[in-house]
Amino acid sequence: MNQEKQHSSNQSAENTEPAETSSRVTRHRSSRGEHGLGRVLFSFLGSMEVAITLFVVVGIASIIGTILQQNQAYNTYIVKFGPFWFEVFRSLELFDIYSSWWFVFLLGFLLVSTSVCIYHYAPFMLREWRQFRLNVSEKSLKLMHCSRLWKTSQSQEQAAAFVKQKLTNGGYSSREQLDNGVLTIAAKKGDANRLGYLFTHGAIILICLSALYDGNFNLKLRELAGQLKPETRDLLASQVPPISRLGSDDNHAFRGSISLPEGSTTNIVFLQMRNGFLVQELPFNLTLHDFRIEHYESGMPKSFESDIVIEDLQTGEKISKTIEVNHPLFYKDFAIYQASFDDGGSIMDLQLWSLENGSRHIENFKQVVGKSRDIETAQGKVKLELVEFKASNVQPNPKAEETGHKFKNMGPTLTFRIRDSSGQAKEYINYVLPTEQEGRMFFLSGVRSSTSEPFRYLFIPVDEQFSLKRFFAFRSLLNNHAEMERISRKTAELSLPGDRKLKPELVEQMAIVMLRLADLFNKGGFDQVLEDINKKVPEEKRQTVTESYFKVLHTILGTVYLEVLQQEGVDIGNNITPAQEQYYDDLVNTMGVLANYDAPFYVQIKSFEHKQASGFQITRAPGKDLVYLGCIFLVIGIVLMFYVAHKRIWIRIKPVEGGQMNELLVAGSGDRHQKEFAREFEALSELLDREFKQDN
């Protein structure tokens, strides 16, 4: 019961504390002589309501920037939101919200509010920290909820000495003052709590100002003044006009990026600004010697490393270092980070095998990754765009159990697009090396119509030389009309041995059927043959016709295959090997689905020269150390505010009963830790009870 009462009294006391504080502050403020509108504005800016409102508004504004992806290409936004909303969002600067005028203004407002707050409270906090408040009145001591009286026959000095001893034990420091025979001892502890306020709020100001200094605010101002204009065209760095360039001494803080191919040197970085960029010159040359990616067994990247050299343009000083993620190079107030990687212009030695009807065309050339090239086809010009070259492709190993390796490297791949004259493109991924499937080797090529689809793969079997020659020789023979006429006649004669002389027109007819079937198969695979049957043959006869047609088709295709083998110089004698037979099956299967692959040519990568580029982020942030200093202040301040309790105790020793006795008035307050203080006060009371018991 007693305890509960104490709690409720504590609570009301805690509530009155801030009011006390603010009244003192008001007094103080008026003494500085601000009047009228200025004063109203001033107290508005420093008010807690404004601060809380700003917290909430800044919070909500920040959310927008996390939901709407920032700093994308403007086209992406137009596609996403349509031209109307794009324009609305752009004018509100929502695509780069954190450096928009209004967001910076909000932060500035918060800064002003905090500064005004410090201006108001700092003098009071400093006084609270330093002063012991000796001239407190008896009346106000009696009004404190931790307040009690004792009487003692001990002398004033004796009683004071005892009390002071106990206060020192309890960690209090004290001052005393004798006024008209009344001795006042004022003690306090945990006064650093008051400094916590200054530390935290000062830290916020320091952090915000330093961060603002490091931000791109100065560039925005210069843009407004017409001294700068972001370049939006796709230009080479050397062609960028001076209005979009910044000299190495022109800009004290920036964050830029650059992609540097192996073996090359630069002394600029690009600063992104909305939908354009600026060229920032550096006071040093940066050379990339080598870029390496290490992988875990699963193919996941383990490290990205760049061997770089920087050479100071003024002093000629050279520094070599290997930088990697988490280990940047710091030079003066610049920092060079490993940020990304890219293809640095790998050269692909390609061979195109035409897949068009009737065409036996083969083309050889070299092309750089990232570039495109026009290719003539029967359907007109198409563009071959090389998108990406990957040096390795690690995938889960289907034979993990047998081999003991969970993963398997499928070797390098080239991703490219073939874009037709109308702008439509299909994406392909070709493996450089043949891969094993069920004990046989195939070249794999994936195709898809959009990047959201998975690839569908074509498997092209390789011959004994691990080459595509036999496959394309077969196709080429099918495309050769004169040869095919000869072969089909020969096959027809061979397949109808007894009828050759009796019914020449039957042989002729068979030859025509064979030629037509082979042609249909060549154009559209088995599907085309079936479609033809469905079109021409009544339903009840279809089954038998299909069976015999396929038999005939296989006979002619088999003969073509044997011709191909003979051309190669393979000695087939009377029998072909099982491997050669298997190859025939794979060949026919692949030919049968080639129509679905839907490409004018097959791209074979004969060899390649891999060249990588390393993406660097180069920054200059002179305010960084001040931000860190601010952070240290912030942490110190928070600890002081929450974990150092500010407590005060006063003891007034007044002679009573004509100096026979002394009366002790003991009172105190625990600020934000009333509950703890009440217990402390009780502990002190017990000691005082024991000491002065006999006198009460």
């Binding site: 807690m48 959310i63 993620v325 982020q617 942030a621 974990y643």
Partner: protein, 393 residues
């Protein structure tokens, strides 16, 4: 009350902190230092200066922690013994985890986490039974189960740390790198914070509410870690995470998250009791719920602690970002949401400390604050893309 007074009485008597330490306290300190010395002796060749600093700092912090909150000594010793036992059983053979009895059923990382999960859920139920029946025995059982779960959770993490090295030296890393691992961390930190306040305020009746939050985390953990995703498998670290900063940034963050979760659940308890009292309801259960101002006070203390750690964690994160991403602040979604969480609790603290707000509005605010925190913690990984995408759902 009498014990508190006598503790306090010492305050004004001549005394020093050092003399108040018992023999066990000194044995404790010596044990921790010996452990650190052993680690230094064994692994110093693989440590850089920062990691040496982290080792020393961790040792000293654990000693101080055990001196200021005595149950920590027994807790740490139990965790250490079980973990060392598991590690010695493993030797250099990870496959023993499937065949050794103790490992398979008790203290391999996965089994320990399973035990932790089961015990937290049981403890939640037990706390609520204790609240309804008022049985002291049930309450103590619930508390003991929470302690055991917390032991198993930390053992699970420590053994997992070792297991990662047993997979391959390259793969080895402190297990705070994906959502599965940090959810375990979250559960044990929230539980420890709760157990601290349970001991201090000497009431068991907030337990059910707090453990409800932990049980939800456990439910998520089981779904996420052991469902079809297989997130409980140990994965190697991407280059950006290979840094000593991870060892301090992530745990500091989770003290913050844990404390905010604790505050929110106390907010729920506060609102329930307050609404019932307002409706004039009066029963044994309501009376058993702790006093409103005790709940209010612990809620404040939890938020203050959470705020301090969250601030520290965000600063450490900024310093890490300055080494890994090229700037201490990039307005990455995770950073931005950390700022939002920070502003939210800064507003809460201003309202309480300066405006003198108490009770219902702040309890509501703490509950809503948990959702803001949860979004920063999981939502960002789920819905937004950015530099922090280490544990997508």
């Amino acid at each position: 009350m009498s014990t508190t007074t006598s503790e306090m009485q010492n305050m004004f008597e001549k005394q020093s902190f050092w003399r108040s330490l018992s023999l066990f306290d000194w044995v404790w300190a010596a044990t921790v230092l010996l452990g650190c010395g052993y680690a230094w002796n064994e692994y110093s060749a693989h440590m850089d200066n920062y990691e040496a600093g982290i080792l020393l700092g961790t040792g000293l912090s654990i000693i101080a922690w055990g001196w200021l909150w005595k149950p920590v000594r027994a807790y740490s010793i139990a965790v250490a013994l079980l973990s060392l036992f598991a590690i010695s059983l493993y030797g250099n053979n990870l496959a023993l985890g499937e065949s050794n009895f103790f490992l398979k059923f008790l203290i391999s990382s996965k089994s320990a986490i399973m035990w932790m999960s089961a015990l937290y859920v049981l403890a939640t139920v037990a706390y609520f039974i204790g609240l309804v029946t008022g049985s002291e025995f049930t309450n103590k059982t619930a508390s003991a189960m929470t302690w055991s779960a917390t032991v198993m959770g930390l053992v699970g993490l420590l053994v997992r740390w070792r297991e990662s090295y047993l997979i391959h030296v390259d793969v080895g890393h402190i297990p705070v790198s994906n959502l599965y691992e940090v959810f375990i961390l979250f559960s044990i930190i929230t539980a420890l914070l709760y157990l601290y306040y349970e001991g201090k305020s000497k009431t068991y009746n907030m337990g059910g509410f707090v453990l409800l939050a932990i049980s939800s985390a456990v439910a998520f953990l089981l779904w996420y870690g052991f469902g079809s995703r297989g997130a409980s498998e140990i994965q190697p670290l991407v280059p950006a995470l290979q840094s000593y900063w991870m060892k301090i940034h992530v745990p500091a963050n989770f003290v913050g998250y844990g404390a905010f979760a604790l505050a929110a659940m106390l907010g729920v308890a506060y609102l329930i009791k307050d609404s019932m009292l307002k409706r004039g309801a009066d029963g044994a259960i309501i009376r058993r719920l702790p006093d409103l101002d005790v709940v209010d006070d612990v809620m404040y203390k939890a938020i203050a602690l959470g705020f301090a750690f969250f601030t520290l964690a965000t600063i450490l994160g900024a310093m890490w970002a300055a080494e890994a991403w090229g700037g201490y602040w990039s307005w990455d979604p995770k950073e931005t949401w950390a700022l939002i969480v920070w502003l939210n609790y800064a507003a809460w603290l201003h309202l309480r400390l300066t405006k003198g707000w108490r009770g219902r509005p702040l309890a509501w605010w703490a509950v809503i604050g948990l959702f803001v925190t949860l979004f920063a913690f999981i939502g960002v990984n789920m819905f937004l893309s950015g530099l922090h995408s280490y544990g997508e759902l």
